[in-house]
Amino acid sequence: MRWIWIDKFTEFTSKVSATAVKNVSLAEEHLHDLYPAFPIVPHSLIVEGMAQTAGILVGEARNFAEKVILAKIGKAAFHRLVRPGETIAFSAAIQQLSEQGASISGTVTVTSASQATPQPVAEIELMFSHIDQNLAGLEFPEHNFVFTEQFTELLKTYKLSGEIPI
């Protein structure tokens, strides 16, 4: 399911930066898939969290009119594992934004009940394409299959709670 890998936004500055958090629960089945009896959040799903945070930031910059696709992971460097009971913070900053897409740099940190000081988890650089503006001139379906009706409903909750000031 798209766009529900992050729980809420804690900061959102249009066209500039956003931070979203995810609380990690032992009940999430994927935590148990990598190593028996040693549940961790897979690195790929940490990248997914950053992609969702940054994807919404990039989408909002064009009022969600563009089909924003994760096109490239320029960098993903990890320093620490993420365990159940911890809260992940995904902070994304737009480096460049154009008609054709955007590049972002992001940092991932965790906190927990016993560790209030954010601990660095990863640095991630992503590139997004507005695929209707792609260089290859390919055509895609007219309807926006990225920011779907499901996302529109989610966006209403973000707006109502004031998480995204739009």
Binding site: A71, K72, G74, S98, E99, S129, A136, G137
Partner: protein
Amino acid sequence: MALSRDEIYEKVKGVLVDALGVDEDEITPNATLIQDLGMESIDALDIVFRLEKAFTTDPTKKFTIPRGELFPEDLESLKNDPNMVQDGKITAAGMAELKKRMPYADFTDFEKDPQADKANVLLTVDAVVNYVQAKLNG
């Protein structure tokens, strides 16, 4: 102070290493971006973003690369134009159009056997350096 060609080359090299994930020693002036360095279509936007960042030294004078200027976008449609390509070879009119769109590329070798499906060889590291140098010099 204006950047020398060597300084521009070193910056372009850094951009290509980061954008394409290649080793520094793979970057040579004649290396072609697509065949030799494995550039894919999505890398074009990445390279443009990185060049704009690398060559913007003064925030009030942003180094910008207009869409389609460094990496022409509709070359595929030109291939299907009989005035531009005949029997797989680029015509004189096609060559003139290509030169107009890619004034920074070296056509010397390509003109000897202008196969349309080999036009990618025009996009070399040196071509990118030429492009940046011309832009910086106004």
